[in-house]
Amino acid sequence: MSKPMLSVAGVKTQYGKIIALHGVDLDVNEGEIVTLIGANGAGKSTLMMTICGTPRASEGRILFEGRDITHMPTHEIMRLKIAQSPEGRRIFPRMTVYENLQMGAAMDDYAHFEGDLERMFDMFPRLKERLHQRGGTLSGGEQQMLAIARALMSRPRLLLLDEPSLGLAPLVVRQIFDVIRELNAIEGLTVFLVEQNAYHALKLAHRGYVLVNGSITMAGTGRELLESPEVKAAYLEGGA
């Protein structure tokens, strides 16, 4: 097998004395959708942020395309064709949709800006309608679309998504997951998806990991995890 695109090996992350991650191992191969599921406070967001360099891993190594990024400054990591839609969306509320998208392309020198903008409008027609509206006045779903589109504007090879379905209506969740699937199938984008919505995430993903209290307890293909009794009991109860 070829080397993974992103490889997290024995990563431990602490907030002061609190240990949030106890040596996590995880791989994301090129062209895959990999999901990470887990309960509130399991450390999912911490893992994603550690990949991006804030907070720093106190032990272990993180490789992206064979390069050690464990100690790289965050802004340099994010220029390596990794893009992130952080937890809580974090769009720029006082900037317009257009300006938000521009910020996404800032590190790409706007070389492909116009074309990429059109691509985003194809994917999320709502954004085109709202182009000159302030980000903060968008609905939650629109903000999520904007957060994903903004991340995509930097033309990433690896997209990190933290709970894109948070607080959205089922129909909008479906729409966003469809876009992720298309991006992966058509453009070959590699996606690392952190989700609470385990059912949808596991159905979408090629592979998945389960994080419990800062440790990976299970790994497998999406289907395997969906069918595993432990996952069913802990994350899919009454779900769908």
């Binding site: 991006c52 965050t74 802004h75 994010m78 952080p86 974090r90 317009t96 300006e99 800032a106 590190m107």
Partner: protein
């Protein structure tokens, strides 16, 4: 339906009037002993009681009127606070309609000295107005400089005056330095340094202030909001204390007075042969220099404005605005937040340094007293009142605040013996009025005078992003 609203509004009016009358009465009662009776030393040295009931009446009316006004506007309940801007004319200044007003605005600025001379009837009498223009423009420039740090990058800087001081002292020390003057006397002529020092030192002052901006920037990069404000406040005070105590260099509290005057690009504003008036065939008048100073500060302020507009459209300017909104998101987009903050600090500081050099060459005397925290507070107030980030708003609020405080001096009718008496100096109350103005503006327009901002880049048409319609939500 109509009757109901009419009844409601007449009820409102009645209630407001009643409340206003009650407040006025209470104020009057309280103030009769406090203000209405005034004990002064009589001619024989004994205490004499004076009555000032006129003053009491004025205060009572002021309080009553203010409360009435507040009842009918601000306290009217949320229904009255519609989306429509209260000062449409001001809001329009920032919009496309402002484009037509801008040439007029610039024309007025350019012609201001002429208008002042014509209006006051001669060069000599125009001095007050020209100096006032210079004074206001200095604050416009300082406001625009601080606007980069506070308004655009969202970094609350309470020590901006430090950079103003660095600029002023850099200029004063270099321009007044005897060794430098002697050095150039040997190579470029005896008068070189006296005539050219401003033009050589102006960029140096800006650069040095920018350097100090970086020096301040480094330790405070991790801080935000209140913490940043406190550290910058301390920085401003430290600079002032250093200026007071480093007597060998700065001459301490006595200040530096040997600053050469500004020249017309090497031509002195002197009366004799080779002076400005002589060369241009004019009759000598000291006002020539003041008018020239007016145009220098106008050019410096314009430079600040143009640079800011340019920077806002460049990646670094957009990164500033993004930084103000969300630092974590900025980092996740690959923006180097450290560098972005440093550039905001240093560029803002640079313009403060330019303004400081100008201040020094205008007054020709610098002392630590000119650089107190009060200055920082006034500049910050200008930025906040103007609507953070809005250049036209900052200019308007500088004109209103600085010009308004100056105008207080002209309220001579208050010296009427029936009111405050001849010893009364209205300008002593300027801080009080300043505070009132702040509270009033913030009550009426919580986002500042001009609260809408234009999107920096337009796709096809200009769309105004109205501040009044924004509900800041994250969900």
């Amino acid at each position: 339906m109509h009757e109901a609203t009419a009844a409601a509004s007449s009820g409102l009016l009645a209630r407001a009037l009643k409340d206003a009358a009650a407040s006025a009465a209470i104020t009057a009662l309280l103030l009769v002993p406090l203000v209405g009776m005034h004990a002064t030393e009589g001619p024989s040295g004994a205490l004499v009681l004076k009555y000032r009931f006129g003053l009491v009446a004025i205060f009572a009316l002021l309080v009553g009127g203010l409360r009435l006004g507040l009842h009918l506007t601000v306290w009217r309940g949320d229904s009255a606070r519609g989306a429509a801007p209260r000062f449409p004319a001001l809001a329009r200044l920032a919009g496309p309609a402002g484009d037509a007003a801008k040439p007029v605005f610039f024309a007025v600025l350019l012609l201001y000295p002429l208008l002042a001379v014509l209006g006051s009837g001669g060069l000599g009498p125009s001095r007050y107005w020209i100096d006032l223009g210079i004074y206001i423009l200095t604050y416009v420039m300082l406001g625009w400089g601080l606007n980069i740090v506070v308004g655009l990058a969202g970094l609350l800087d309470l020590g901006y005056v430090a950079f103003y001081a660095v600029g002023a002292y850099t200029f004063a020390l270099l321009a007044g330095s005897v060794p430098i003057s002697d050095f150039f006397a040997g190579t470029l002529g005896a008068d070189f340094w006296r005539l050219w020092s401003f033009w050589v030192c102006l960029p140096l002052s800006g650069l040095l202030a920018a350097l100090w901006g970086v020096i301040l920037g480094f330790p405070v990069l991790r801080l935000r909001g209140d913490y940043l404000a406190i550290v910058t406040l301390a920085f401003g005070e430290i600079i002032r204390l250093v200026l007071i105590n480093w007597v060998d260099l700065t001459n301490g509290g006595a200040g530096i007075a040997s600053i050469p005057p500004i020249s017309f690009f090497g031509i002195p504003f002197s009366s004799g042969e080779g002076g400005f008036a002589n060369l241009f065939g004019l009759e000598f008048n000291p006002m020539h220099r003041n008018i020239f100073l007016y145009f220098v500060i106008l050019a410096l302020a314009a430079l600040t404005a143009v640079a800011t507009i340019r920077l806002r459209r460049m990646p670094v300017g957009r990164a500033w605005e993004a930084l103000r909104e969300d630092e974590i998101a900025c980092r996740s987009l690959g923006i180097n937040t450290t560098l972005t903050k440093l550039t905001a600090f240093s560029i803002g500081a640079m313009f403060g340094g330019f303004a400081g050099a100008f201040f020094a060459v205008r007054i020709r005397f610098v002392s630590p007293e000119s650089f107190t925290f009060m200055e920082s507070a006034v500049i910050l107030a200008i930025v906040v009142l103007g609507g953070m980030g809005s250049q036209i708003g900052v200019a308007v609020s500088a004109i209103l605040l600085i010009g308004g405080m100056e105008m207080l001096r002209n309220l001579t009718f208050l010296k009427d013996p029936w009111l405050f008496g001849p010893d009364f100096d209205p300008s002593l109350y300027r801080m009080l009025i300043f505070g009132f103005a702040m509270v009033a503006v913030m009550a009426w327009r919580p986002r500042g005078l001009v609260s809408s901002r234009l999107a920096t880049i337009f796709l096809k048409e200009r769309k105004k992003v109205s501040g009044d319609l924004v509900r800041e939500g994250h969900g």
